[in-house]
Assembly symmetry: C2
Homo-oligomer: 126 residues x 2
C-alpha cells in the first residue's frame, strides 16, 4: 500500500497535512472544521481523503477509539524538503542555485530575510 511514485502530496493532501502539523493529532471532524475556514468541503470528502492518505502511508491512524485520530507520517520539515527536492530535479535540473535565484525574484524579500539567508550560508561554510 505504500506510496510508490516519487510524487509529493497533492494540494488537498497538503492542506490536510498542514492542519495536522499545526494542530497535532486530530479527528476527521477537527481537520474538516479547520479546512472549512478556508474552503467549504463536505465531511465525507475529508474523511475519504484521509482514509486514502492513510492507505498511501501519508497519515497514521489510531482507530482504537470511536473517533479515529490521525497524525502525519512524516514531519513538515521532511515533507518540505522532499517537495523542494522534487521540484529541484524536475524544474531546475538539480541546481539549487537556480531555484534560490527564482525564489528570490519570485517574491520581494526584506532586508531582515536577506540577513537570515546570509547567516544560513555562513553556517554552511564549515
Amino acid at each position: 500500500m505504500a506510496r510508490i511514485k516519487g510524487q509529493g502530496p497533492t494540494d488537498k493532501e497538503l492542506a490536510i497535512l498542514k492542519v495536522l502539523w499545526a494542530k497535532g493529532p486530530s479527528t476527521v471532524r477537527q481537520v474538516n472544521d479547520e479546512i472549512n475556514k478556508q474552503e467549504k468541503t463536505g465531511y465525507t470528502t475529508t474523511l475519504k481523503l484521509m482514509q486514502i492518505m492513510t492507505d498511501k502511508g501519508l497519515l497514521i491512524r489510531d482507530d482504537s477509539t470511536f473517533k479515529h485520530v490521525y497524525e502525519p507520517a512524516a514531519s513538515a520539515e521532511d515533507t518540505e524538503n522532499r517537495i523542494v527536492g522534487d521540484m529541484l530535479d524536475k524544474v531546475f535540473a538539480g541546481s539549487a542555485e537556480k531555484l534560490v535565484m527564482r525564489a528570490l525574484s519570485a517574491k520581494q524579500i526584506t532586508a531582515e530575510e536577506r540577513k537570515n539567508i546570509r547567516q544560513i550560508l555562513d553556517q554552511m561554510e564549515d
Copy 2:
C-alpha cells in the same frame, strides 16, 4: 479556452516545454523524438498533449505549413518564477526565506554556488 486556474504545467507538459525552450520552435515529431530519449512515448500521445497545451494557451502553434511548428507561449524564466511562486504560497505560506532554507538543505551546494547566491543578495541591497 485560456487557462483559468493558477496551477502550473503538469509534469508531462513541463517536459514538452523544456524541449521547446532548449531546441526552439519545433514540430511534434522533433519534440517526441527528444522526449523518447528519456521515456518511450507514442507519437500521437505527444501530439495530443501539445494540442491541449495549445488550447490552454501554453503553446503557440504555427499551422501555416503542413508540419505545424510549436513554441512556448511563456519564457522559461516566467514559467519557473510562476512555479516557484505557486509553491511559495502553497507550501511555505509566502515565505521566500523558508523556501530558500529548504532549497539549501535539500541539496548539497558548493562553495561556488554559495558565493553566487551571496552576490545575488548583494545586488538586492540597493
